[in-house]
Symmetry: C2
Subunit: 240 residues, 2 copies
């Protein structure tokens, strides 16, 4: 594939990475891989001039994002044209201790996605989104559950946003000091940080004979969460 044919998000003043621009990526593959490795995002809205930064669960389908949006429901209802929002996902990979205060840093991967957020009002569209939110995390799980009721669908808010612009920023450099500082007798290190799964805790009220389905085997003790999520996403969306 030639470089020209790599699908990318458009870049303008909103999403152009101004500082440390060598860490920036705008191509779909990098942006989507970071989105698919997470389940917790932070989303920013403005309500009456006040910015809010709300943590919530999200998922991606092609270039569209979805998230649980109860806190934004009031603002988004009846705003069918949508409201500007920014959804950000960040993975901390390491703390970086350099020989100078200035070069202390962190290795991380983050993606910021911009667009117009809109509340899903149509009940069939919402039901589909909720099913996919679950199956994206745990492929095939919805089919094993008791059906969702109309009342439950009504009680849940789902927000959707077509990604207009996005940028990914990745630092994976470890310790980088000024050349002359390497001669100093100062200790420097990289401390890796990983978000991992613990041993699953079966619910105490399972009825006799009910065991863990094989579809959950990717969520095993000690595994990195981002790896389990990436694998689950690829299972639910084999076409990417």
């Amino acid at each position: 594939m030639s470089e020209q044919s790599v699908a990318s998000y458009p870049v303008d003043g909103t999403n152009r990475v101004k500082r440390r621009h060598q860490r920036a990526h705008y191509d779909h593959a990098t942006v989507h891989a970071l989105l698919d490795a997470g389940t917790l995002c932070h989303v920013s809205y403005v309500i009456d001039g006040q910015p809010y930064c709300t943590p919530t669960l999200y998922w991606r389908e092609a270039t569209t994002l979805y998230w649980h949006g109860s806190s934004a429901s009031r603002m988004l209802r009846n705003l069918s044209e949508g409201q500007p929002a920014c959804l950000t996902v960040t993975q901390l990979d390491a703390l970086v201790l350099a020989r100078s205060a200035f070069h202390h840093s962190a290795d991380y991967r983050s993606v910021m996605a911009f667009g117009l957020a809109r509340l899903i009002e149509d009940e069939a569209e919402k039901a589909r989104a909720l099913t996919m939110m679950l199956d994206r995390l745990f492929p095939g799980r919805t089919a094993t559950l008791r059906p969702t009721t109309e009342q439950e669908i009504k009680a849940t808010s789902v927000v959707t946003m077509e990604i207009d612009k996005a940028s990914a920023k990745i630092r994976a450099a470890g310790v980088i000091d000024d050349e002359e500082d390497y001669a100093l007798p100062i200790y420097a290190e990289r401390i890796p940080v990983r978000t991992v799964l613990g041993a699953p805790e079966p619910d105490g009220r399972l009825i006799a004979g009910v065991t863990r389905p094989a579809t959950l085997s990717g969520f095993s003790a000690g595994r990195q969460l981002d790896e389990a999520l990436t694998e689950a996403y690829a299972t639910s969306y084999p076409a990417g």
Copy 2:
């Protein structure tokens, strides 16, 4: 201590938790404990009507927050009265798989802090903030480094915000199903999620005889990041 004497943040329409309000906390002790257990936050600003959600490193001193603010510098400069901002810290503790789609959830701890963000322009104030940002993470570390230069201080942006309002939200409930659903032959579990430290990776260019200082012993392989950070904070700020 009587209940009346517990210091709390004031509650109004901005920070009152509307959904699942039984998970809400406004007291200083809960809010500050969550802030001190993290190092990566997401902060929301509005620039020309567009909300931004930016990941960055932060630290707390009493009821004041500080963070690395390069991306907001342009907006904040010359706005000495400050700009509304929201700083949020979230810790994912578990994925919760219930017997119905509706009751799938996550155990988490999050805090949202609101106030007016302002760029620190005074160089002495900025130098002090940068020292404390580092020593809050790694107590005593600044004293072991080569001194920060004036140019480095000039090249770094630090934002400060007095917390006007804040709310913490904690879910630590695991699986909660509708009573009638417990009779169904459906598997349910809680999958713990932990952010842990890996084995420290000493820089490859350390000069002979330089070893890891004892002050870093709290950052040991396998430890939970939030525990290491809470301990470091308590060392740097014994008065809380």
